[in-house]
Symmetry: C2
Subunit: 492 residues, 2 copies
């Protein structure tokens, strides 16, 4: 099964595309650019959702739901935002089909059912949400509004890739409104930290926190905070963004409040989101040439048990032992599956669960039953241990925690050895063409230089790291003055 | 606050519309026919989702996600289904906006960005899902497919009402594929029972299980099972449907499998769904002229504590007592809120929580502190008890269970006294114009009679109850032969 997977060294991009499909995460649909998220992939997304949702609620947010459609006049109210998304949006113009008089059994758009005003399928929901907030906010007592929405959005991308860039994707989008600038900035920073915490401690993906440059900023934001991850091919992936919107949307939608002194002021806003793109980051951070490698926190199946037997009698004995094991694991809240299919051989099963990234595999045969042991295999390191019956539960739960930690440590180690400080444009290019990763370089702060570097190298400024040291230098391209290094990379 | 609510006797429909908005469940948006589900309403929906999702998984189903859009050619593949939804669907025809040259700052649909094939925003997902299943099913080993999706769908209804009928709504849709007719029928029946169980035991809404007549059947189904509830105004509400699709979609999308003998056969299908419409059923089953009445299982806040005090010192003493109470309730997994707002008086708070349907209110003042008591008020009966500190937790958890049960019993009693057997069309009309509810009558089995009765009375056949007794009779309208009674009602 996995022997058919293209290796990363052969063709990283092909490896990714194949793996997503073969591991049953997702597939392309009959609708251009839209994917089907298959049950195994969706189960991982559900685990992400549950944890993020918990974190959002813990920080005081509530969920709500806003319309899928945005009338054109509402869409264009915040000009920068509209401009940013106008070129890639799906537009509903009609509301009825009718029988096609020329083609029996076929339907056609009914020209008499044209909408008075076109509806944009939301590419993001600031417009519809701020138009609603206008009715919700009168006084400072109504603030802050701390709201999140789980939804589908559509961006009509021309070149799509499963999870990484699809016309429709699933995400959450937080939209908050505050009485003061300071509070809104704190909220956007807080959510960036929540995302980083989630990426690192739950997904085992190390991230760099930073600010986007003006060029890379969200359309309609005053500031975009982001978390940037590094994939195994040396390309960066933006894993989440949190925007400080200033009063831009409040002004566009006339959302004012009476402050404690009774004076009318515009509300301050934030928005923040992560999407099914995280599934792509997950695959590309940990997986290998044999298939997926899933961190235990996100694995729909954490432990799979494969029986090794020749006779029905052996299977019966093994089954009795495994059933008890399964119930003990369940008590420890470990998700365990007993793969007792009689239609497949153990070798097939091993390959299948490797491909699907199940963190721990336990094999048990007649010899193990005799010896009171199990064979425990780690998916990430592909190593095996023989473990006694008495120790198996503790051993495995400890092992799951260890795998979670080591996946992060390994990814962190890879990431850290792929941040290279350069001081000349020659060096800049040679690192990008060589080992890749983040290139830490001085930049003169202009959009023109940023654009020129992108043209020459395909690298963009991923972020101005929050923890960067202010340090005078000269721009790696122009030699002009710089106040500190920024991180460049080729990116997804 | 609640004094402004129209009473049910004055105008039931207006009472409903006002209540949904005033209780912060939902509101109309700036998009025709689409609603905003507000945080309080969404919290109730989340509780429904969690429980249904648990029940689906317990019966072996997995979640997945399929595209929002259905290309026109795919949409029209199953003719009956297409015909059923063609008249009310939103259609995407373009994928880009551009600056309007005649109106600075405004956007227009870019005529150069017309889609080659129009996309229908899913009104239901049979078409897109069965086109996908074609790739998933080769052999009987791939069956059954037991899949559910949580999604938004769009039906371009001309007359909309919050929750009951909106252009966009949220729902779940199960789509399963089976090797045999028998298995598919069993699945559709099972899901009807799951829905009934959920409605009765979780939402406290009694339902009648039955089959739809051909006229009322889902477009593309061979049989539609349903659960029907009765609202306080004597109108019925379809609360969930489960369809046996026969091989209709398998044939339309050419989904075949090799059976155990290697012979190619078409797959058998089911689909089943419940939607945010259930929120409407919830409101209209239990609520009263003072506002919402929520069953404890669905209440985002089960218990609210309101302090009664004059001095800051009193509030401090009360707060200390309440904090301990709150932590004891949390241990019992009771959702409790301490309403310690200093900006509002107790009377205002009482009215607000009554309006929002919190099942139990605990009031505590200086006298209670002295006496070691609390005043416990039930939202449903509006009765109060004084309960001692030692007993408060047990008393309240028992009370919550009792409220849950009594809400169901009361609704059941109302429903049972509103099923009237009639034997003449005069009686039929007089019951409908009088107390309303379900009218149990003989029907000759023809669509023509069904249609005629609808014309004359606005009543439709809600279902052929599963538990009906076969019994010869004569049709209430035509006098023609009938094999048993069916249930008519005016319906939402």
């Amino acid at each position: 099964m996995s022997k058919n997977l293209t290796t990363r060294a052969e063709d990283y991009s092909k490896w990714y595309n194949e793996l997503v499909v073969k591991a049953d995460l997702a597939e392309n649909s009959g609708v251009r650019g839209c994917m089907v998220i298959k049950p195994y992939g969706y189960a991982i997304w559900e685990k992400m959702q549950a944890e993020l949702d918990r974190m959002f609620k813990e920080t005081g947010h509530q969920n709500a739901y806003f319309p899928l459609f945005v009338p054109k006049s509402m869409f264009e109210a915040e000009e920068k935002n509209a401009e940013g998304f106008a070129k890639e949006c799906a537009i509903v113009t009609h509301y009825r089909l009718k029988n096609d008089p020329d083609k029996p059994g076929k339907l056609m758009v009914d020209p008499n059912a044209k909408l008075e005003e076109e509806l944009i399928v939301r590419p993001t929901s600031e417009a519809i949400i701020w138009s609603t907030y206008k009715g919700w906010v009168q006084s400072y007592r109504d603030l802050p509004l701390l709201i999140n929405q789980w939804a589908n959005v559509v961006r009509w991308e021309m070149r799509t890739r499963l999870f990484l860039r699809t016309a429709e994707f699933l995400w959450q989008e937080g939209h908050t409104a505050h009485a003061t600038r300071k509070e809104a900035i704190e909220e956007s920073e807080q959510m960036m930290h929540v995302y980083a915490d989630f990426a690192e401690n739950f997904m085992a993906i190390p991230v760099i926190k930073g600010l986007k440059t003006e060029t890379e900023r969200f359309a309609g934001a005053d500031e975009t905070y982001c978390i940037e991850a590094l994939m195994q091919d040396g390309k960066a992936l933006q894993a989440g963004t949190s925007h400080f919107l200033g009063q831009n949307f409040a002004k566009a939608f006339d959302v004012k409040f009476a402050n404690a002194e009774g004076k009318q002021e515009y509300v301050w806003g934030t928005s923040w989101g992560v999407s099914t793109r995280l599934m792509g980051a997950l695959v590309m951070t940990h997986s290998d040439d044999k298939g997926l490698v899933l961190p235990p926190n996100l694995a729909p199946i954490q432990v799979v048990v494969v029986p090794i037997y020749k006779t029905d009698e052996q299977l019966e004995t093994i089954t009795a032992v495994v059933k008890q094991l399964v119930s003990e694991f369940k008590k420890q809240r470990v998700t365990i599956k007993f793969d007792d299919r009689t239609t497949q051989k153990p070798g097939f099963k091993f390959a299948e669960w490797e491909l699907k990234g199940v963190p721990v595999r336990i094999a048990v045969g007649p010899k193990d039953i005799e010896n009171g042991t199990f064979e425990v295999a780690r998916r990430d390191t592909l190593t095996k241990e023989v473990v006694s019956k008495d120790e198996i539960v503790t051993y495995t739960t400890d092992l799951l925690a260890q795998i979670q930690k080591e996946l992060f440590d390994n990814a962190l180690n890879y990431r850290n050895t792929h941040i290279t400080e350069v001081n000349s444009f020659e060096e800049f290019k040679s690192v990008l063409d060589g080992k890749g990763g983040f290139v830490s370089a001085h930049w003169d702060g202009t959009a023109a230089t940023e654009e020129k570097i992108k043209e020459l190298t395909k690298a963009t400024i991923r972020c101005i790291p929050l923890d960067r040291v202010e340090q005078a230098g000269s721009c790696v391209l122009t030699g002009a003055a710089s106040v500190g290094r920024v991180l460049f990379a080729k990116a997804y």
